[in-house]
Subunit: 565 residues, 2 copies
């Protein structure tokens, strides 16, 4: 008898699993049940559709060859039955049946299965703010949502938008709205943008880019109420900090795994509220698999559950599910929590644990903060990127990486991701035979320099102090010499202003060393702290006992600095 | 007593080793002997200086902060003595002395050492072509060489250049010359550009780009003689194929390790003609280390010696040498032979073994050839890249990767490099949590798709045939159905013309399957062979026994194709 596979959910994981099942078992009967009309669309592309970069929403549903993945496509090409506009209401695990209802006709249908795949995705969190029901208040999860935003009463130009929540979606839509000529304000509860994804010294550069592009930021603020006019259209967002005009509001405070069906069917739910699956993507019922945004993943760094919904992961889940249903016991090894985002001209990427999270995990770590041009510095096209690399001490195992800048950020995060997937250490990374030519990287690639910095710290050769520690020490009125070893010309252009700062160019340090008191604590720095590190070693060699260099130098200093105009 | 370290060679490995030795052992006496005036310059930047992208040659010798690394810099900043314009003539290993002579004054000096570092680089191969001594015939290895080329009698615009040798330098300088408005012809003995670096189906795209940019190519040709005028200036290059005007000739047929000093001192030379070193970069004399372009490396794929001179590797060698001299027994794990090059708008990168080399190594492999947009296909900024991935069969261990295209090539090669550094398999690669957002990659990154293709082949699910095999079969008059499963519209635009071709769009294949004879061999394909693979699986499922899809489809087909104008 033919195996009957029912897949609930037609966006990413579902169609991928269904398609591969048909390729592995051509005679299987595969049915996809999808609640909306449109399926197999690129949900992550919605902000780019809103921005106008993607002209027609049908492009989000097409194959690279331009064929729209509609029900006909799945039938003709894949021999898969798609039942759309249909909501799965209930799973009967005893009889192995899915009970569903058409949203169009109200007709009820029962789908028997041998194997069931839950790819039901996530749902947006709806915060309890009065006024969310007003016209012009949007969420963004489906193509329909995006069309509603884009088609809203003609041109968006000049209108006021308030975005509540500064996660990935909030940030991406900010760019989209600005591209459409809107005036954008972000309201975010926490102190930093992308608070849960990156450490503050990386988030700082994102904030700067936002401010430079005219985005208003209400950080550590909370929306209290959304007010409308007498036609029920949004007009004002009231926060703890003030009242702001709004022709449109986007609520993007995050998503939660969609678990209603699973929970009601008695499947195990994990500690983070997602469907629990084993490494074969199998739920607590051996005939039911689950993947995509509705499940919890395992962190490849900690081995613990992590909720990290991502379209790329959903596709991988689909492939693993198909393999297992077709008798190939493939395993999914988990995720690192990688993410990347473009914000105007800046790119920002992260993977693994943030430094804050390593603290929560009680890991002993060293961090490197390395700003440098992304290609040979003598090429005018070179642009600075800043890498933060976090490694376990003393093993050197890389546990996190964050990269931000105007240059090629993506390449460096992929090196970290790949290395971490194999338990790579900073010692390993320092010797990768990465691709070098001047248009692509410095001779010592930025990520290799970052690895070398971390290794030097582990080996007690380099002694670093983070910018935030330095600032805290300043605020506490501590006594130390803040030794800037750049040239006077660099100092004129840009500098950190503090009475502890003393300028001794590196080339003069050896001859002027007698002028530096031996009993004081010294913190050295330069533009990026390569010379700062060199200065630390010179002072160490001269018998100075309390010398550290400040990670990342002036470039990575996230606080106020003097810039000559 | 202070340790005395003498370093011969002041370009990349030498200064790196010297600088780190001083950081690790501040009281060591470190001397660099360099034959030229200029040291610590970016040799790989020379083509970009010739192109005019780098305006002043001093930028090639500066730190990112703009400080020129001259003898004064090394003295003041690093406490390193640089003795430039001085040739090391002889090493006396018994007395531990280097005998050197100043090229400026003829003065002879003796440098005693406790530890010696040979970082003497490579020399360009000078082929025995009559006329190489003419004015206007150049090699490119030093800043002086590059200045000679760029300053040659005013503007280069409109002049004829002949480049002998189509390796990395030849290719980079081709772009540089074209940017300066020159008419360029390449004369190359072998059939393909970058013959030793990539397989023909990848080299093909480089050739195409060259031709489109107006570069003349004499492949499988050999320069016989270079003729000059009565002032001794080059005028003509005579090859086996013809005579060509030349105002300038660049000879770039490769480099050999510089081993004179080492050989005369009785140090071991490896099978490929480079200085032999162990994994600590130590020569056969335990007091002498060597690194950079003068040594042989070990291949991380085969474990065998490989000659792969590269500025990035030289820097890593320098670091390892410094560690070992300072009592840290660090090891250098070898190289993959990674290289990357930009040619006009195209990027090309490679690592590990080519398919040809896997044949020589008698490895059983599968290959994947995957062309696809480098980011979400619905973004207009997406550009096609083609990945060739080579994996051992059946282990799946990745042994080589080549990427070419107009999009982001560098990122994908780094994933392969990093994976291969850890012995990664295509199964591993398929599950990396790579950074996904539409501006950076498709939801299934290109390299993940390539890994999936290779895995499907290993698991006998996908059955591929390479374009070159298909062409050979055509030339031999074999009988098969060459099944194009694209749409009629795509077929009108671009197609492979052959009497075996039959068009059945994928969406019609299931309903028209009866019209396809079961006894014939079938080779399916589409634009990139994703649908070609799907068609293979459909036909397999319908009981067809001899079905394969052509790797890479029409996009990767490197031979003649019909394109609607």
């Amino acid at each position: 008898m033919k195996k009957r596979v029912v897949v609930i959910g037609g966006v990413a994981c579902g169609p991928k699993a269904a398609s591969r099942i048909k390729r592995l078992m051509p005679h299987a009967e595969v049915t996809i049940i999808e609640k909306n009309e449109i399926l197999s669309y690129a949900g992550c592309g919605l902000p780019y559709y809103i921005a106008g970069e993607v002209r027609d929403h049908s492009e989000l549903m097409s194959t690279p060859a331009g064929v729209v993945r509609d029900t006909h496509f799945f039938r003709a090409v894949k021999d898969i039955t798609v039942v759309n506009r249909t909501v799965a209401e209930r799973i009967d695990r005893k009889t192995k049946e899915v009970h569903a209802v058409s949203t169009l006709t109200g007709e009820r249908r029962v789908f028997p299965y041998d194997e069931l795949v839950l790819a039901v995705g996530s749902r947006t969190i709806q915060p309890p703010i009065p006024g969310v029901e007003l016209k012009g208040v949007n969420f963004l999860s489906t193509v329909e949502d995006a069309r509603k935003i884009r088609d809203q009463e003609g041109s968006l130009e000049g209108k006021h938008a308030v975005i509540i929540g500064a996660g990935l979606i909030g940030v991406e839509v900010t760019e989209a709205f600005v591209r459409q000529g809107m005036k954008v304000r972000i309201v975010e509860q926490t102190e930093h943008l992308l608070e849960n994804l990156v450490d503050p010294e990386i988030a700082f550069h994102l904030k700067n880019e936002m401010l430079q592009k005219g985005v208003a930021l209400n950080l550590k603020d909370r929306a209290k109420e959304i007010l409308g006019d007498d036609q029920g259209r949004v007009r004002t967002v009231v926060t703890e900090q003030g009242s702001y005009p709004a022709d449109m509001v986007l609520i993007a405070v995050g998503v939660r795994p969609e678990i209603r069906l699973a929970e009601e069917a008695g499947l195990e739910i994990g500690p983070l509220g997602g469907i629990r699956v084993d490494s074969h993507m199998r739920t607590s019922d051996p005939s039911i698999y689950a993947g995509g945004d509705c499940v919890e993943n395992t962190s490849r760094v900690t081995g613990k559950p992590v909720y990290a919904p991502m379209g790329s992961t959903a596709n991988k889940h689909g492939r693993v599910i198909a393999d297992n249903i077709c008798g190939r016991p493939t395993r999914f090894p988990g995720v690192l929590g990688t993410a990347i985002v473009r914000i105007f001209d800046l790119s920002l990427a992260r993977t693994g644990l943030t430094e804050k999270e390593t603290g929560q995990e009680e890991l002993s770590v060293v961090t490197a903060l390395s700003p440098a041009p992304d290609r040979a510095h003598f090429l005018p096209s070179a642009k600075v990127i800043i890498i933060k690399l976090i490694a376990e001490n003393p093993s050197g195992r890389i546990v996190g990486c964050q990269v931000v800048g105007y240059g090629d950020v993506a390449k460096r995060i992929e090196v970290a991701v790949t290395s971490m997937s194999h338990g790579g250490t900073v010692m390993d990374l320092g010797n990768y035979d990465l691709a070098y030519a001047p248009p692509f990287s410095p001779a010592m690639d930025n990520i290799i320099v970052a690895a070398n910095i971390a290794e030097n710290k582990i080996n007690d050769i380099g002694h670093g102090i983070t910018p935030s520690e330095v600032r805290t020490r300043m605020e506490e009125g501590d006594d130390f010499i803040f030794l800037d070893v750049r040239s006077p010309e660099e100092f004129e252009q840009i500098r950190i202003e503090d009475e502890r700062v003393r300028l001794v160019p590196l080339g003069k340090l050896r001859e002027q060393i007698e002028t530096i008191p031996k009993d004081k604590e010294i913190i050295t720095f330069c533009k990026i702290s390569l010379r700062g590190y060199e200065a630390q070693r010179i002072l160490d060699g001269a018998g100075y006992a309390k010398v550290r260099y400040m990670d990342g130098g002036v470039v990575a200093w996230p606080y106020k600095k003097f810039v000559a105009s």
